[in-house]
Symmetry: C2
Subunit: 393 residues, 2 copies
Amino acid sequence: MENFTYYNPTRIIFGKGTEESVGAEVKKHGTKVLVHHYGEEFVKKSGLLDRVFKSLKDEGLEIFELTGVQPNPRLSLVKEGIKFVKEKKIDFILALGGGSVIDSSKAIAIGVPYIGDVWDFFSGKAEVKETLPVGVILTLPAAGSESSGSSVITNEDGWYKRSIDGVDAIRPKFAIMNPELTFSLPAYQTASGGCDIMSHVMERYFSVTRYVDLTDKLCEGIMKTVIKNLPIVLEEPENYNARAEIMWAGSIAHNDMAGTGRMPAWECHKIEHEIGGIYDVAHGAGVAAVMPSWMRYVYKERIEMFIKYAVRVWDVEYNFDEPERAALEGIKKTERFFKGTGMPVTLKELDKSIAEDRFEEIAAKCVEGGPVGWFRPVNKQDIINILKMAGTG
Amino acid sequence: MENFTYYNPTRIIFGKGTEESVGAEVKKHGTKVLVHHYGEEFVKKSGLLDRVFKSLKDEGLEIFELTGVQPNPRLSLVKEGIKFVKEKKIDFILALGGGSVIDSSKAIAIGVPYIGDVWDFFSGKAEVKETLPVGVILTLPAAGSESSGSSVITNEDGWYKRSIDGVDAIRPKFAIMNPELTFSLPAYQTASGGCDIMSHVMERYFSVTRYVDLTDKLCEGIMKTVIKNLPIVLEEPENYNARAEIMWAGSIAHNDMAGTGRMPAWECHKIEHEIGGIYDVAHGAGVAAVMPSWMRYVYKERIEMFIKYAVRVWDVEYNFDEPERAALEGIKKTERFFKGTGMPVTLKELDKSIAEDRFEEIAAKCVEGGPVGWFRPVNKQDIINILKMAGTG
């Protein structure tokens, strides 16, 4: 086991009706609140926005609004937000939405007290020292950003999708999580979110660190929970308990608990970030399209990890004569699971326009700072090879 | 799944050599620090106390010491500590030890800013509003107190062992956890600690709440980790990785994550508290002596939970003809496990002086506030019945 520090002070407020406590939660930290959201019809029609505004007003808070967040949230809106927050002297940012809104909120929050360009944090030129407080009402379980120390932003200038990770200061003050708010999520978003959750655990699970029994088990437990409940919510969108499992799994998958004491992988996320930056695909779908190919490309590197994954997560019987068969069976089962939820498992299925002649560019952008990932660091040629495998499956 | 809130802001600093960061951690919160510990030879001989003092001095902190903590920590020492801390204007309490020292430290910390008798918090007369900050260097993995919102104190006046639970304000600011510091723990304390850890999970696992897949899995993962690694550390006391698994399992077992969204049980802890208060036995051993009998007494109440436990935690094959057999096999395996680690599984084995003529008194004290526990609340007669079953096995 590796040495580690773990610190996650996000207050989780989970369950039915919890969004009505938002005013009281915000009031602990601020007085002028920016409600940052997609601006989609759902939050208005469903009455959610009204309920949130009422709760904030009941506590005497002054409300501002900034909408227009897109999937793969953009730097331009972040900059607009920073300007607006400074002008209005806003002191709290409430993210109402999923990972994109939360990441955009975090980026605004760190940009406000910073004198330079907020992109400096994402390009590795600056470290976060100060931030406005951020709170979350989660409507899309996927990114785990509601209690993570991460934010991923896309810079339209060059279409770079870059992240800051492991920064405790940007963990939200609170995350309000009502599974009922996810009942109306479309199947594609639900499935993409579920695959994103799976991938957050898998990127931690496939590790070069040995002797990490407890976190192996935590990871396996989270994955098995998603494997059981994601098909249920796709068939029964209003199944509260199954939605609740997915929602809580999404947080635990990325709150860093399941990664304590072990080196992670993150190769697939790094590759997907380049694809997502250029082609603007749903993140979970992008990961689903790349991951099985990545697994096939690297599994021999530490085959016992892939056998363990097959046996414990997918209930594949250990093959004493040909253990490798078990490893490959686990990969196949992963692929079938993604596919069964409606996700793409090849780049072609992800987006027809992702052509082989861009693989070179994607790979080059990905390794600008050297080989990426920690399970089996991949260089430019590795990435091209993986993308070729993912091309058509 | 039940609604829940989860908030655990303890900073975990885990691994080799981490005690050397204690000065820097304390300095974030205070300047005059009380080092509260058992005063046993080990901390001096091993050089641990010197290293801790050096780290504190290097940060310019003023050091005070209060030793003499006993297992089942006493109210009298807590009161002495409160007086001392007030006199010396100490502003931080560093617990160096296991659950007893940490619980004693927490009790001192809440007693200092309180005008009345600190026992008020434990007798349910007062709620914690304010507290001095507490930090921990853990030397005995068991109680999980290093990041929990609990403290258990024994009042010598009547030998009442009482707890405060779920109070976020008393969660320590940090917990430094170096598995190497547990290498020299005697086998009995190691095993007792391991059983305490198991019991913290079991008290959450046996729940009346249905549809709690994720926390089922977290609980099962923690238990399986202890079941695998406790025998290893008993045979190889200096096995770093196995010690590390037990140490981290001890925290996660009781940091409340594994109990999110589900009603807990806690019947056995309530019963053990009375036994521990009167007979001063090691807590983990006391729980081991009571738990199998409690399980046999209540398993029919929600038998599917006990079958699940047998199948998933103990790898008992599901018995389609007689499912009850699987449930009973799980209980037997638990008992054999406790016994195999050198723990008592009857009251006789726990302490020969625990005689049947005291069962009435133990039960009466336990239910002074009404039936206890949430899995299958037990009244006075239930407790007497369980104690009789636990009497000789």
